[in-house]
């Protein structure tokens, strides 16, 4: 990456794997799980969070010398809430069906701990460009996990990706279904998301033993 210095590139790359917001920092689980039954919803959620994080980190970083530390939480909440209102209105205007599926979870981006966490930990103490990269990096790390969960849940639960059947037709019994494969309805119910995240954590920590928790 010639465009970015190595240090800056790490801001983006770190959260994608070894410092992932969901699997390592345990932030932003709430919205990650509820909307991942379909790949499309996961992707839209990821894009929304990337937008809110990128812009939000820049705004907070610009304001970091102006905000009195006593009321910073409220100031941060107002910035996020404004950005989320923008996202919500855009979704309602251009993807109404999807915004119905996401329902209150768009609003819950406000209390997504990743956003507040990064504001507190990074944007309040760093320059605009680096905060922007940090925001994008963390939101991407979040998005990656979301898309992985969405991919497996939709593929195994409904046999589709983005609503397009990829494993054959369950009614006409073509493709995989012709040899007796059945959709796993279990993947559609909410608790399955938790188990998928648990398995992702398991895989990640088996590959990188340094991440294993003591006790």
């Amino acid at each position: 990456m010639a465009l970015l210095s190595k240090k800056d590139a790490n801001l983006i790359l770190d959260p994608l794997a070894d410092n992932n917001p969901i699997t390592i920092q345990v932030l932003g689980i709430c919205s990650a799980l509820a909307i991942t039954a379909e790949l499309k919803a996961s992707l839209v959620m990821a894009v929304s969070v990337i937008f809110v994080m990128g812009v939000g980190n820049v705004v907070i970083s610009l304001l970091r010398n102006v905000i009195p530390s006593k009321i910073r939480i409220i100031a941060q909440l107002i910035v996020v809430a404004t950005l989320v209102i923008v996202v919500d209105q855009v979704l309602k205007a251009f993807a109404y069906e999807l915004s119905k599926t996401l329902s209150v979870f768009v609003g819950l981006i406000i209390t997504n701990c990743i956003i507040m966490g990064r504001f507190e930990a990074f944007a309040l103490g760093n320059g605009v460009w680096r905060s922007f990269l940090d925001g994008i990096g963390n939101a991407l790390g979040y998005g990656v996990i979301l898309v992985i969960i969405g991919f497996f849940r939709e593929l195994l639960g409904s046999g589709t990706l983005f609503g397009i059947p990829v494993l054959g037709d369950p009614i006409a019994k073509t493709g995989l279904y012709s040899i007796g494969y059945e959709n796993n309805g279990f993947m559609i119910i909410p608790p399955a998301a938790l188990i998928v995240v648990g398995i992702i954590i398991w895989v990640q920590r088996s590959r990188n033993r340094a991440l294993i928790e003591e006790a």
Binding site: A34, A37, V84, K100, I201
Partner: protein
Amino acid sequence: MLEHLELFFKSIFIDNMVFAVFLGMCSYLAVSKKVSTAVGLGAAVIFVLAVTVPLNWLLDQYLLKEGALVWLGPEYADYNLSFLSFIMFIATIATMVQLVEIVVEKFSPSLYNSLGIFLPLIAVNCAILGGSLFMQAREIPTLGLALNYGISSGIGWFLAILAIAAIREKIRYSNVPAPLRGLGITFIITGLMGIGFQSFGGMLTGDNEPPEGEQPTTAEQTKEKELIKKEIEEDDKAVSYNEVVKE
């Protein structure tokens, strides 16, 4: 009375904040290592939900909803400020949490000592904002029901964090595979508990359909319904197919 009872059990068991809609997962995972702290946080969540949900209900009813400003005069009847609800709700929550903290500190130092440290944490707990947003999305009709909803979903959250904290205290003595230790196994246990809680699903939907507006709104549940509908359609198709074959 019956609708209060129904909403109460529904919010605790069927639409449980943690197991059905994953709200407040961050603090649920972070503060569930010990039962005593879990109890403290759970109590604080019940308390704050009981205060903020009715308050936001009033805001929604008299300020934000379409036509809510009609009490100012007939010319305001067309105003719809509901796009402002996120910012209003979160501002109310943040202020209320601060206010509650100050009041509790002044009048009940012992309660403050047990709840105090958790109160600031709660302003950004998604369960609190989620409570208000679900209250709005489900169009809860009266202030009493809103209060009921706040308290009962708080109790649901309390139950969930209490249960997981107790399990985590015990699981320390079990031989969990190393990469799963800590976070991983907590996720999987929560998932299994969630499946258990799913079995409450049929409890209140025995003979009467839930009233309009109280229909579950999460993505999963709509999806589930679609799936059921699809299955029914498939069955219909199969039947008609069989008939065609017979003919």
